[in-house]
Amino acid sequence: MTVVVAIGTRKGLWLARSEDRVTWELDGPHHAMREVYAVAFDTRSGVRLLAGSSSPHFGPGLSTSDDLGKTWDEPPDPPMSFPVEDAALERVWQLQPAPATQPGVVWAGTQPSALFKSTDGGRSFEFVEGLWNHPHRPEWEAGFGGQAVHTIVPDPVDPDRLLVAMSTGGVYRTSDGGKSWEARNKGIKAYFLPDPWPEFGQCVHKVAQHPASPSRFYAQNHHGVYRSDDGGDTWQSIADGLPTDFGFAIAVHPHQPDTIFTFPIEADGNRFPPEGKCRVYRSQDAGATWQALGTGLPDNFWTAVMRDALCTDDAPVPGVYFGSRSGEVYASPDEGETWHRIAAHLPDVMTVRAAVIPA
């Protein structure tokens, strides 16, 4: 079994490849000196690697590779354009292939906060006007990282249903393919606003879903870890048992809908793991109880894991992966029980994605 991990950093993309998920070969940088915030493996038909990158000088772009990074293709025209006067594409934050029942459909979330849809596997994209024209948009504020749609969760069954999350703004959901959107933040706290329970304006850092449980979502918020069992209509805290409710990343086990992984960070004002100990936390009961996973992980880890820098692969016994601002990447071949460092001394890791490559 071959597993490839795509590691997007602030100065390019690296690819790590392994047959046993213990010994890894590192290849890169691809797209050197470009900020790679969004990568995706599209394994619906062959393997296509998509990378959204941006240059501080020369702007954003999107490249695809159908040979695992040996060659890259970037269309000469911009992959996404804002067909409006008051905005231009600054960065691609998220690339999300749709379920296999929608071949060719790839969603992209951008800065400024907008959604784009591709029907040709990520070669070209259409602007989703419904979200852009939402009456809340003038009140979506920029967080420290910029104002962006950073999370896209397509419904596993219904192609018209889609959930996005943005910072700030929170969670929005469509049931008509993107024409209309409703804020879905009831129960998610925005402690940084005068009204801490607003309809929208939350800073939801990441939302995850298991395709076998399409009505259930997990969210890591800017303080707060939540679960929704009703499609996002309401959210309940699942932070009890975690050392802190701050963090950026959350990921779901590919085969167990009740198993989730997070990387807690002390607080908004103290962005280190608690006590500087590098630990992934896992819940196997949908957030009721949590277990610290640290075998092979270091102490004195004074760095943080960003919203897209924690993921799993989809092997029968799935691997778990995360990367840090300190340029390290750790991999677990056994659902988080044990860990190995597979890369170090890279630029800040912004995103990590893993895929089992068909033989």
Partner: protein, 94 residues
């Protein structure tokens, strides 16, 4: 009329390796119209120089006969015949 555009090394993959490109610009010529003509031949170059609104990227400098265009009239800077546009990335980043 002809103007010459000097391409920085880091962008020459978008001009098939050419370090300078002559473009024929209709008169009255401006920096913007010269870049429009350049974009027809080199769209991949153009989107590194300008966003989809044709706004100049903030950290790319455009010297018109030795003067940075933002000290002149920006994209509307008039171009004399045989003008030289030198494109240089600004010093930024870490």
């Amino acid at each position: 009329m002809k103007v010459t555009v000097l391409i920085p090394g880091v962008l020459r993959t978008a001009t098939a390796g050419q370090s300078h490109v002559d473009v024929d610009v209709p008169e009255p010529a401006t920096l913007a119209t010269a870049l429009d003509v350049l974009a027809d031949t080199y769209p991949a170059l153009d989107r590194r120089l300008r966003d989809e609104r044709a706004a100049l990227r903030r950290y790319v400098n455009f010297y018109v006969n030795g003067e940075e265009c933002r000290r002149l009239s920006g994209p509307a800077t008039p171009l004399p015949a045989d003008a030289e546009i030198q494109i240089l990335p600004s010093v930024a980043g870490g």
